[in-house]
Symmetry: C2
Subunit: 283 residues, 2 copies
Amino acid sequence: MFDWDDIRLFLAVSRTGTVRGAAKQLSLTHATVSRRLHQLEEKLGTTLFDRTSTRHILTEAGQNILETAQEVEAGMARIDRMAFARDSRLAGLVRLSMLDSLYLAIVQPFLGRFQARHPMIEIELITTDYLSNLAQREADIVVRITKTPPDSALGRKLADSPLACYAAEGYLADRPKLDRWIALTHEPARQPILSARTVLTANSLIIARDHIRDGLGIGLLPCFLGDQTEGVTRMPGIDPIPDMEIWALMHPDIKNVPRIRSAMDFLYEIFDEQRVLIEGSAY
Amino acid sequence: MFDWDDIRLFLAVSRTGTVRGAAKQLSLTHATVSRRLHQLEEKLGTTLFDRTSTRHILTEAGQNILETAQEVEAGMARIDRMAFARDSRLAGLVRLSMLDSLYLAIVQPFLGRFQARHPMIEIELITTDYLSNLAQREADIVVRITKTPPDSALGRKLADSPLACYAAEGYLADRPKLDRWIALTHEPARQPILSARTVLTANSLIIARDHIRDGLGIGLLPCFLGDQTEGVTRMPGIDPIPDMEIWALMHPDIKNVPRIRSAMDFLYEIFDEQRVLIEGSAY
DNA sequence: ACATAGCGGTGCAATAATTATCCATGTTTG
DNA sequence: CAAACATGGATAATTATTGCACCGCTATGT
């Protein structure tokens, strides 16, 4: 029988399409991935990928086993979660995935309170741009800004996150025509100012915020960010757009793990306390 | 994430109950199994087994993941079979599991014909006493003497295998009282001679046959074996017992593999040719 | 047309895993 | 009750695996 662990490499290559990409995902070198992939193919007696010059493409045999390999992966992830769920200590690591801007604005100022309450729990902040996979336990808790929380995950709505239109404080006096627009990649074409030309599209809220603050244009920002930023004001006459919601999500399998529950409770608490600020209703 | 291959060790230990037994199954040393098991437990953050002095017993955590681990194992076996199913050569290995006595009596005399027909196909005979697992591909084809073929497997009935009562040729003249009985472990208490005392119970047909031939007692044998044995005759006045059937079985996933199909066809053929002999209807 | 960046494969040195062996302990057996 | 057996763990020698550097190749952009 083949080495079961090689199925993980097979999946990584099938997803990334390249041996080097898979190696990066798995924290290995491409040499190792290449060798073990060949070894797997030899053991199975079948070639799993067509090696084109640019990328690895699944052969028919590879497509055949792909679905089963994914089921196996889900099973392995389940084993991981079930073992994790038995950890009853109020100690250890909690991996929290959320936007860095949201973390900085809402969570970070009160983190000391959490640390005082649970000194043995360590928080790891994950701010990758892609959505961390709860099933694979890439993160324990994901705070996501979304309209449609997935019902496979378990969690609670923390707050609304309306968008408002911001400009640098001196901007309006200098450029009454409002012709320069800073857009968010996440918010395609939600542009209340009719005639403005988009001069920048950023996928980072922080970058967009900084550009707006520096007077390079106007644009939408979540209230929790814009209202907290020095040198930036809301555009008068434009009401906030009720838009996204902020959800804290975790996998059902780990909901009873004490440290996860503590971290969740803490999130509920601090978002509740800062609701007025987040939802921008003070203005 | 833990090494997926370690789940295989976990399953082997949970089945055998000992690290050494698992190591034997997996063709490893007990040191390797022990070390990797500890490594898995450390990665999962849970202890999987209670180490008693005699055997490893699953902890609650171990029981929790056992079922999922078995699903994962089934998936891996499926991947193995699906890859195997793509081998379109009329060459390679066919692993055949059957009783050695049946093989010697029926298959072996005609094996030359198969080899002449398919010179590149190699037959491996597996005569373990436990039933080879088709799903795990411990054997490709299992010939089983049974009353109830499992419907999860695919195959065909090759023949009936009635039992008849045999004695050494001089036996009846010497010992008209028929008081010594040679029994088969597989056939508990199927004893047509009323007053005989069981003097030997053998799990090997060959052993039982040899004892009967050597005049140590009388007993039941499948006709294919007894009728072929020099120096042994059926007891007069006792009709053969229609009893078991001989089935050739394979896993549905590999039914279209050419060399498996060839081997199956060969089995059908030679059992058909020797039906009279196997079913003992010539007497 | 040329340079560049990214790709997968290969040889070699370093590292990690596996084996073989010994040991202590507890259990079964005569 | 002693002795033989089997178990899991620990340690040194061997073996296998990995990472690194380099290679030739292709696609792409200047």
